[in-house]
């Protein structure tokens, strides 16, 4: 397992991307799956900055990668506000352009493109999001 900690800023996103893309390639994921991991992790970290911390520069994000023979696991931790995944609204997929709402699209997408998504919160560890992509 490799772990790296990044400041909770938008500028960190590219560095986090490099970190997880390298792991995805080492895990043997194809280009399409690698892009999906890159995207899911970007969406997760944006949610941490925007919602858990409520802005840039207010906390850190710790990202760990585990390379398994059949999958890649990415674990992202933060110490911001907890959230309830069941309360994230599902985007309306057939909404007319004028009525498209921002909320929830990133999280919905994460669930769609990853094979597994687990979230838990504890006082000791804070928010822990586990993303799994199979080969």
């Amino acid at each position: 397992m490799r772990t790296a900690t990044f400041p909770g800023d938008y500028k960190s996103l590219e560095k986090i991307s490099e970190f997880v893309v390298q792991a995805a390639r080492q895990a043997g994921l194809n280009e399409h799956a690698t892009y999906q991991v890159d995207l899911a992790v970007d969406e997760a970290c944006c949610n941490i900055i925007d919602h858990a911390y409520g802005g840039e520069g207010l906390g850190e994000m710790t990202c760990s990668v585990e390379i398994h023979p059949d999958k890649l696991t990415v674990i992202i931790k933060d110490t911001g506000r907890p959230f309830d995944p069941s309360r994230v609204p599902e985007p309306k997929l057939d909404a007319p352009l004028e009525e498209v709402k921002r909320r929830g699209a990133g999280f919905y997408l994460m669930r769609k493109i990853m094979d597994e998504l687990h979230y838990k919160h504890s006082p000791e560890e804070g928010n822990v999001l586990v993303l799994v992509k199979k080969k």
């Binding site: 399409h32 995207l39 970007d42 944006c46 352009l97 498209v100 699209a105």
Partner: protein, 111 residues
């Protein structure tokens, strides 16, 4: 991210390259807003060299499309969208809001 804008008679062509995430999406937003704020609503976005786009980037495109299509005064069309970006847009139902062309000439010709 690098962005260039070329103004043609019938539309504006914007070419952006690299990664569009929360850090760089505001630059793309500025470039597109500069065109719509000048009263020009027919825009071609050449995405040939955009390697990555997160939902922050899509929202820039959605907001611009809303502005352009208001009063039927124009449209934002996309060119050469990477397969992975296109499939993620389709997964959240956003692909249907944009016409996508294979090359800039055809996109410009559509106006």
């Amino acid at each position: 991210m690098e962005i260039s804008t070329t103004q043609f008679k019938r539309c504006d062509v914007v070419k952006a390259s690299g990664r569009v995430d929360s850090s760089t999406a505001p630059e793309l937003e500025q470039a597109l807003n500069a065109i719509t704020n000048a009263g020009r609503y027919k825009i071609v976005l050449d995405m040939s060299d955009i390697t990555f786009m997160s939902s922050k980037g899509w929202w820039v495109l959605i907001d611009t499309q809303k502005t352009c299509k208001r009063y039927k005064r124009g449209e934002l069309v996309l060119v050469n969208v990477r397969g992975e970006i296109r499939s993620s847009l389709d997964l959240v139902g956003m692909g249907s809001y944009f016409k996508i062309f294979d090359d800039v000439t055809t996109a410009v010709g559509s106006f």
